[in-house]
Protein backbone atom coordinates (compact mmCIF):
# COMPACT_ATOMS: atom_id res chain seq x y z
CA UNK A 1 0.00 0.00 0.00
CA UNK A 2 2.70 2.45 1.04
CA UNK A 3 4.64 1.48 -2.02
CA UNK A 4 1.65 2.26 -4.21
CA UNK A 5 1.16 5.61 -2.46
CA UNK A 6 4.82 6.47 -2.91
CA UNK A 7 4.75 6.34 -6.67
CA UNK A 8 3.55 9.29 -8.72
CA UNK A 9 -0.16 8.89 -9.29
CA UNK A 10 -1.68 8.70 -12.74
CA UNK A 11 -3.66 11.73 -13.86
CA UNK A 12 -7.10 10.18 -13.48
CA UNK A 13 -6.52 9.54 -9.75
CA UNK A 14 -5.85 13.22 -9.20
CA UNK A 15 -8.83 14.23 -11.33
CA UNK A 16 -11.10 12.01 -9.25
CA UNK A 17 -9.69 13.36 -5.98
CA UNK A 18 -10.24 16.96 -7.11
CA UNK A 19 -13.84 16.22 -8.10
CA UNK A 20 -14.32 14.48 -4.75
CA UNK A 21 -13.02 17.56 -2.87
CA UNK A 22 -15.51 19.69 -4.79
CA UNK A 23 -18.43 17.39 -3.88
CA UNK A 24 -17.36 17.26 -0.25
CA UNK A 25 -17.34 21.05 -0.04
CA UNK A 26 -20.75 21.26 -1.76
CA UNK A 27 -22.25 18.86 0.75
CA UNK A 28 -20.86 20.98 3.55
CA UNK A 29 -22.66 23.96 2.04
CA UNK A 30 -19.44 25.52 0.70
CA UNK A 31 -17.92 25.93 -2.71
CA UNK A 32 -14.51 25.03 -4.07
CA UNK A 33 -12.38 28.10 -4.75
CA UNK A 34 -8.88 28.60 -3.42
CA UNK A 35 -8.00 32.15 -4.47
CA UNK A 36 -10.85 33.64 -2.40
CA UNK A 37 -8.51 32.94 0.52
CA UNK A 38 -6.12 35.63 -0.68
CA UNK A 39 -8.90 38.15 -0.22
CA UNK A 40 -9.66 36.70 3.20
CA UNK A 41 -6.00 37.02 4.20
CA UNK A 42 -5.96 40.69 3.14
CA UNK A 43 -9.09 41.25 5.17
CA UNK A 44 -7.75 39.40 8.21
CA UNK A 45 -4.67 41.63 8.05
CA UNK A 46 -6.90 44.66 8.42
CA UNK A 47 -7.16 45.76 4.79
CA UNK A 48 -10.89 46.31 5.33
CA UNK A 49 -10.12 49.57 7.13
CA UNK A 50 -8.81 51.18 3.96
CA UNK A 51 -10.45 49.30 1.13
CA UNK A 52 -14.14 48.43 0.99
CA UNK A 53 -13.51 45.24 -1.02
CA UNK A 54 -11.86 43.74 2.06
CA UNK A 55 -14.47 44.95 4.53
CA UNK A 56 -16.39 41.75 5.22
CA UNK A 57 -16.62 39.15 7.94
CA UNK A 58 -13.47 37.21 7.13
CA UNK A 59 -14.03 34.87 10.07
CA UNK A 60 -16.91 33.29 8.12
CA UNK A 61 -14.25 32.09 5.68
CA UNK A 62 -12.17 30.28 8.31
CA UNK A 63 -13.14 26.91 6.80
CA UNK A 64 -11.48 27.92 3.54
CA UNK A 65 -8.32 29.08 5.34
CA UNK A 66 -8.25 25.62 6.91
CA UNK A 67 -8.27 24.26 3.36
CA UNK A 68 -4.98 26.11 2.86
CA UNK A 69 -3.57 24.71 6.10
CA UNK A 70 -4.62 21.26 4.87
CA UNK A 71 -2.85 21.87 1.56
CA UNK A 72 0.39 22.72 3.35
CA UNK A 73 0.09 19.65 5.57
CA UNK A 74 -0.76 17.49 2.54
CA UNK A 75 2.34 18.74 0.76
CA UNK A 76 4.46 18.06 3.83
CA UNK A 77 3.15 14.52 4.32
CA UNK A 78 3.57 13.79 0.65
CA UNK A 79 7.14 15.09 0.61
CA UNK A 80 8.28 13.50 3.87
CA UNK A 81 6.51 10.17 3.96
CA UNK A 82 5.09 9.33 0.56
CA UNK A 83 7.90 10.27 -1.74
CA UNK A 84 10.67 8.14 -3.14
CA UNK A 85 12.60 11.01 -4.61
CA UNK A 86 10.82 10.57 -7.89
CA UNK A 87 11.85 12.85 -10.73
CA UNK A 88 8.94 14.38 -12.57
CA UNK A 89 8.57 12.46 -15.86
CA UNK A 90 7.94 15.19 -18.39
CA UNK A 91 8.14 14.58 -22.10
CA UNK A 92 11.45 14.66 -23.98
CA UNK A 93 10.13 17.48 -26.15
CA UNK A 94 9.60 19.68 -23.08
CA UNK A 95 13.04 18.85 -21.69
CA UNK A 96 14.59 19.86 -25.02
CA UNK A 97 12.61 23.10 -25.28
CA UNK A 98 13.53 24.04 -21.73
CA UNK A 99 17.20 23.21 -22.13
CA UNK A 100 17.25 25.55 -25.12
CA UNK A 101 16.17 28.22 -22.62
CA UNK A 102 18.92 27.18 -20.21
CA UNK A 103 16.68 25.32 -17.76
CA UNK A 104 18.12 21.94 -16.89
CA UNK A 105 16.16 18.69 -16.90
CA UNK A 106 14.21 17.99 -13.70
CA UNK A 107 15.98 16.33 -10.77
CA UNK A 108 12.90 16.59 -8.54
CA UNK A 109 9.61 18.45 -8.91
CA UNK A 110 10.76 22.04 -9.47
CA UNK A 111 13.49 23.66 -11.58
CA UNK A 112 16.54 24.81 -9.65
CA UNK A 113 16.82 27.85 -11.90
CA UNK A 114 13.69 29.28 -10.26
CA UNK A 115 13.01 27.46 -6.99
CA UNK A 116 16.42 27.04 -5.37
CA UNK A 117 17.05 29.65 -2.70
CA UNK A 118 20.16 30.87 -4.52
CA UNK A 119 18.07 31.56 -7.63
CA UNK A 120 15.20 33.05 -5.63
CA UNK A 121 17.51 35.65 -4.10
CA UNK A 122 18.99 36.91 -7.31
CA UNK A 123 17.19 39.99 -8.62
CA UNK A 124 15.87 38.10 -11.63
CA UNK A 125 14.70 35.08 -9.66
CA UNK A 126 13.09 37.24 -6.99
CA UNK A 127 11.20 39.30 -9.57
CA UNK A 128 10.00 36.21 -11.47
CA UNK A 129 8.38 34.79 -8.36
CA UNK A 130 7.13 38.12 -7.03
CA UNK A 131 5.64 39.38 -10.28
CA UNK A 132 4.31 35.93 -11.18
CA UNK A 133 2.58 35.72 -7.83
CA UNK A 134 1.35 39.29 -8.17
CA UNK A 135 -0.24 38.54 -11.57
CA UNK A 136 -1.88 35.43 -10.11
CA UNK A 137 -3.39 37.33 -7.17
CA UNK A 138 -4.49 40.33 -9.22
CA UNK A 139 -5.79 38.26 -12.15
CA UNK A 140 -7.62 35.74 -10.00
CA UNK A 141 -9.60 38.42 -8.19
CA UNK A 142 -10.21 40.42 -11.36
CA UNK A 143 -11.55 37.30 -13.09
CA UNK A 144 -13.41 36.30 -9.93
CA UNK A 145 -11.69 32.96 -9.52
CA UNK A 146 -8.70 30.80 -10.30
CA UNK A 147 -8.22 27.28 -11.58
CA UNK A 148 -10.40 25.73 -8.88
CA UNK A 149 -13.21 28.30 -8.99
CA UNK A 150 -13.44 28.68 -12.76
CA UNK A 151 -11.83 25.67 -14.45
CA UNK A 152 -13.26 23.13 -12.00
CA UNK A 153 -16.33 24.54 -10.20
CA UNK A 154 -17.37 26.95 -12.96
CA UNK A 155 -16.99 24.59 -15.91
CA UNK A 156 -18.74 21.85 -13.92
CA UNK A 157 -21.71 24.18 -13.67
CA UNK A 158 -21.42 24.93 -17.42
CA UNK A 159 -20.79 28.63 -16.83
CA UNK A 160 -19.88 30.60 -19.94
CA UNK A 161 -17.98 33.24 -17.89
CA UNK A 162 -15.77 30.46 -16.51
CA UNK A 163 -15.04 29.24 -20.02
CA UNK A 164 -14.02 32.78 -21.01
CA UNK A 165 -11.79 32.97 -17.92
CA UNK A 166 -10.17 29.62 -18.76
CA UNK A 167 -9.54 30.83 -22.32
CA UNK A 168 -7.91 33.88 -20.69
CA UNK A 169 -5.76 31.62 -18.48
CA UNK A 170 -4.47 29.97 -21.64
CA UNK A 171 -3.91 33.21 -23.53
CA UNK A 172 -1.79 34.46 -20.60
CA UNK A 173 -0.03 31.14 -20.15
CA UNK A 174 0.84 30.87 -23.82
CA UNK A 175 2.18 34.45 -23.88
CA UNK A 176 4.44 33.69 -20.91
CA UNK A 177 5.57 30.35 -22.27
CA UNK A 178 6.27 31.35 -25.86
CA UNK A 179 7.14 35.05 -25.60
CA UNK A 180 8.16 36.02 -22.05
CA UNK A 181 10.22 32.99 -21.01
CA UNK A 182 12.56 33.18 -24.05
CA UNK A 183 13.11 36.88 -23.24
CA UNK A 184 13.66 36.30 -19.51
CA UNK A 185 15.96 33.27 -19.81
Amino acid sequence: MLEFLSQPWPWYTSGIVIAFVMVLLLFFGKSFGVSANLRTICSACGAGNNVKFFDFDWRSQTWNLLFLVGSVIGGFVSAEFLSNGEIVQISQATIQDLSALGISAPDDLQPEEIFSLEAAFTLKGFLILLLGGFAIGFGARYAGGCTSGHAISGLSNLQLPSLIAVIGFFIGGLITTWILLPVIF
Binding site: W9, P10, W11, Y12, S14, G15, I16, I18, A19, M22, S35, L38, A47, N50, F53, F54, S71, G75, F76, V88, I90, S91, T94, D97, L109, Q110, I114, F115, L117, A120, I128, L129, L130, G132, G133, F134, I136, G139, A140, R141, Y142, A143, G144, S148, I152, L155, S156, N157, Q159, P161, I164, G168, F169, F170, G172, G173, I175, T176, T177, L181
Partner: protein, 121 residues
Protein backbone atom coordinates in the same frame (compact mmCIF):
# COMPACT_ATOMS: atom_id res chain seq x y z
CA UNK B 1 -2.18 17.42 -6.09
CA UNK B 2 1.47 16.80 -5.39
CA UNK B 3 1.14 13.08 -5.94
CA UNK B 4 0.14 13.64 -9.54
CA UNK B 5 2.84 16.28 -9.97
CA UNK B 6 0.28 19.00 -10.70
CA UNK B 7 2.29 21.28 -8.40
CA UNK B 8 5.34 21.00 -10.65
CA UNK B 9 6.50 23.96 -12.73
CA UNK B 10 7.68 21.43 -15.29
CA UNK B 11 4.20 19.96 -15.67
CA UNK B 12 2.67 23.39 -16.23
CA UNK B 13 5.30 24.16 -18.88
CA UNK B 14 4.56 20.85 -20.56
CA UNK B 15 0.86 21.75 -20.56
CA UNK B 16 1.38 25.17 -22.14
CA UNK B 17 3.60 23.57 -24.77
CA UNK B 18 0.92 20.94 -25.52
CA UNK B 19 3.52 18.22 -25.12
CA UNK B 20 1.69 15.91 -22.78
CA UNK B 21 -1.81 14.83 -21.94
CA UNK B 22 -1.07 14.70 -18.20
CA UNK B 23 -2.50 18.03 -16.98
CA UNK B 24 -5.38 17.92 -19.46
CA UNK B 25 -6.18 14.47 -18.10
CA UNK B 26 -6.28 15.77 -14.52
CA UNK B 27 -8.42 18.81 -15.27
CA UNK B 28 -10.54 16.90 -17.80
CA UNK B 29 -11.35 14.07 -15.38
CA UNK B 30 -12.26 16.55 -12.66
CA UNK B 31 -14.49 18.58 -14.97
CA UNK B 32 -16.29 15.60 -16.54
CA UNK B 33 -17.03 14.18 -13.08
CA UNK B 34 -17.91 17.67 -11.87
CA UNK B 35 -20.42 18.21 -14.68
CA UNK B 36 -22.13 14.88 -13.93
CA UNK B 37 -22.21 15.52 -10.17
CA UNK B 38 -23.50 19.08 -10.57
CA UNK B 39 -26.19 17.81 -12.93
CA UNK B 40 -27.28 15.11 -10.48
CA UNK B 41 -27.34 17.56 -7.54
CA UNK B 42 -29.53 19.97 -9.52
CA UNK B 43 -31.78 17.30 -10.97
CA UNK B 44 -32.52 15.61 -7.64
CA UNK B 45 -32.32 18.88 -5.67
CA UNK B 46 -29.89 17.35 -3.21
CA UNK B 47 -29.29 19.04 0.11
CA UNK B 48 -26.17 19.61 2.13
CA UNK B 49 -25.53 17.98 5.51
CA UNK B 50 -27.58 20.64 7.32
CA UNK B 51 -30.53 20.05 5.04
CA UNK B 52 -30.13 23.30 3.11
CA UNK B 53 -30.52 23.05 -0.66
CA UNK B 54 -27.22 23.16 -2.53
CA UNK B 55 -27.35 26.28 -4.67
CA UNK B 56 -25.08 27.18 -7.54
CA UNK B 57 -24.76 30.92 -8.03
CA UNK B 58 -24.51 31.67 -11.73
CA UNK B 59 -21.58 33.93 -12.54
CA UNK B 60 -22.41 37.40 -13.78
CA UNK B 61 -21.87 37.70 -17.51
CA UNK B 62 -19.09 39.94 -18.77
CA UNK B 63 -16.37 39.47 -21.33
CA UNK B 64 -13.62 41.99 -20.44
CA UNK B 65 -13.58 41.00 -16.79
CA UNK B 66 -12.98 37.29 -17.37
CA UNK B 67 -10.81 37.70 -20.43
CA UNK B 68 -8.46 40.37 -19.04
CA UNK B 69 -8.41 38.98 -15.51
CA UNK B 70 -7.93 35.46 -16.83
CA UNK B 71 -5.08 36.51 -19.09
CA UNK B 72 -3.24 38.27 -16.26
CA UNK B 73 -3.73 35.18 -14.12
CA UNK B 74 -2.38 32.98 -16.92
CA UNK B 75 0.74 35.13 -17.29
CA UNK B 76 1.57 34.48 -13.64
CA UNK B 77 0.51 30.85 -13.69
CA UNK B 78 2.96 29.94 -16.44
CA UNK B 79 5.73 32.02 -14.84
CA UNK B 80 5.60 30.50 -11.34
CA UNK B 81 4.14 27.15 -12.42
CA UNK B 82 1.66 27.29 -9.56
CA UNK B 83 -1.91 28.45 -9.20
CA UNK B 84 -3.17 29.42 -5.73
CA UNK B 85 -3.82 25.88 -4.41
CA UNK B 86 -0.52 24.31 -5.47
CA UNK B 87 1.34 27.35 -4.09
CA UNK B 88 0.42 26.21 -0.60
CA UNK B 89 1.20 22.56 -1.34
CA UNK B 90 4.66 23.76 -2.40
CA UNK B 91 5.14 25.37 1.01
CA UNK B 92 4.47 21.96 2.55
CA UNK B 93 7.05 20.54 0.18
CA UNK B 94 9.48 23.08 1.64
CA UNK B 95 10.13 24.86 -1.60
CA UNK B 96 10.50 28.03 0.44
CA UNK B 97 11.05 30.22 -2.62
CA UNK B 98 7.32 29.93 -3.35
CA UNK B 99 6.69 32.17 -0.32
CA UNK B 100 7.83 35.08 -2.49
CA UNK B 101 5.07 34.21 -4.97
CA UNK B 102 2.52 33.91 -2.15
CA UNK B 103 3.53 37.37 -0.94
CA UNK B 104 3.15 38.62 -4.50
CA UNK B 105 -0.28 37.04 -4.80
CA UNK B 106 -1.50 38.69 -1.59
CA UNK B 107 -0.14 42.05 -2.79
CA UNK B 108 -1.81 41.54 -6.19
CA UNK B 109 -5.13 40.76 -4.54
CA UNK B 110 -4.80 43.91 -2.42
CA UNK B 111 -4.07 46.08 -5.44
CA UNK B 112 -7.11 44.68 -7.22
CA UNK B 113 -9.29 45.50 -4.23
CA UNK B 114 -7.87 49.01 -4.11
CA UNK B 115 -8.38 49.88 -7.79
CA UNK B 116 -11.35 47.61 -8.55
CA UNK B 117 -13.78 50.44 -9.32
CA UNK B 118 -11.49 51.92 -11.94
CA UNK B 119 -11.19 48.69 -13.98
CA UNK B 120 -13.54 47.59 -16.77
CA UNK B 121 -15.79 44.76 -15.53
Amino acid sequence: MSKSEAISWFRIQEMFRFQSFHMYGIIGTAVVLGVIITYVIKKYKLRDYQGNPIVFTPKEMSIPRYLIGGTIFGLGWALTGACPGPMFVNIGYQYWAILIAVGGAIAGTYLYGAIKDRLPH
